[in-house]
């Protein structure tokens, strides 16, 4: 873990993507954090009415709880900015979504071209998706083993700072 005010670049010189999290438990060695969930529309003034944000219950956030080494003596309730290499984020997205999708589509298109029947294409899509998920699982294990999926503590969040403040024009 990096000290407060850590570099905004990873060890390979690539920029870090920032996210916000709140400390929910901490001891001398480890801090447990929950990410502040964003919505796919980025949130807006009418978020309370549209219901996108209300779907994020406590159970969902608990499932996303993660641990960091508590070198900076984080305390419960503090908001912090955490970072991950943008390269790692794109690789993680590709592993979770692109690999299963491409396997599924490849299998479905191949079955359709070979048989010309929708039933076979659907069965092949399911088989391709299953194979893609297995490949994704193996690849995610490798990313995890290399430490690519571990976020870094960057700094404490400023009062009122939100994800949409960053880079906003």
């Amino acid at each position: 873990m990096s000290p407060a005010g850590a570099s905004l670049f990873d060890s390979g010189g690539r920029p870090l993507v920032e996210g916000f999290a709140r400390v929910v438990a901490a001891d001398t060695a480890t801090a447990w954090l929950e990410p502040e969930q964003t919505s796919s529309c980025g949130g807006c003034a009418s978020a309370a009415a549209c219901g996108v944000k209300s779907g994020q219950g406590n159970r969902r956030l608990e499932a996303r709880r993660f641990a960091l080494a508590n070198d900076c003596q984080l305390r419960v309730g503090e908001r912090v900015v955490i970072g991950i290499s943008e390269y790692a984020l794109i690789r993680a997205s590709a592993t979770a979504y692109a690999i299963p999708l491409l396997c599924m589509m490849g299998a479905a298109v191949a079955a359709q071209l070979l048989t010309g029947r929708d039933g076979w294409a659907m069965a092949a899509a399911v088989a391709g998706l299953t194979a893609g998920l297995l490949i994704a699982r193996l690849r995610a294990g490798r990313l995890q083993a290399r430490g690519d999926l571990t976020p870094r503590y960057l700094r404490h969040a400023r009062s009122g700072e939100e994800c949409n403040d960053r880079g906003e024009d």
């Binding site: 993507v17 796919s40 529309c41 984020l89 997205s93 999708l101 298109v109 995890q144 960053r166």
Partner: protein, 193 residues
């Protein structure tokens, strides 16, 4: 095969879901402040949109049409999409909890918007078969992701530009989007009488 490739390219570029059909504008404006999150969200939306198109085709073909329930199409498709989003989240969590946590910090995992509903409805309207529905969903999502990435790059530059105070934020974003839409109109060709 050529027909399938043309379907994907046409849906992604000519009938772009954001710039030609004006769907998914909330995500388009909301998450395009950073190019990395735009690319990540684009991948998530591509997965959800493609799978939703496939399952919605199955529901339409094997449930709604045989039982004469076409009037329930919109509600049923909303349920299908909600189920696909939940399924995606659960599967990512099962496949790799660490991947799920990492993506959960930086990307909105609930990736649904009006474009995700619009494409399955357009598939029904155009009477596509299974593979055409899947590729139409994929092409639309590809176009959506491409526009998210392009627009995020433009907004990162706009953040450094001297924009008049009245136009800062969404106004200059929409003006830029309209210019981008004009550029994409070029893909549909110029009609002369």
């Amino acid at each position: 095969m050529q027909e399938l490739i043309l379907l994907v390219v046409g849906t992604a570029l000519v009938n772009n879901v954001v710039l030609a059909r004006f769907l998914g504008l909330c995500s388009f404006m909301g998450v395009t402040t950073k190019i990395d999150t735009a690319v990540g969200l684009g991948m998530a939306t591509t997965f959800v949109m493609t799978v939703s198109s496939m399952i919605a085709w199955g529901v339409e073909t094997f449930l709604l049409v045989p039982h004469d329930l076409a009037y329930l199409r919109t509600v049923t498709f909303i349920l299908v999409i909600a189920a696909v989003v939940q399924f995606t989240e659960s599967v990512v969590r099962k496949v790799s909890p660490s991947l799920f946590r990492t993506l959960g910090i930086y990307l909105p995992l609930i990736t649904t918007n009006c474009a995700v509903l619009g494409i399955p409805l357009l598939n029904v309207h155009d009477k596509f078969n299974f593979i055409q529905s899947m590729l139409n969903g994929f092409g639309a999502a590809l176009g959506f992701s491409m526009i998210l990435a392009i627009f995020a790059g433009l907004r990162e530059r706009l953040a450094l530009a001297a924009v008049p105070r009245l136009f800062m934020g969404p106004p200059i974003g929409f003006i830029t989007a309209s210019l981008l839409a004009l550029a994409f109109m070029g893909f549909s060709g110029i009609h002369t009488n």
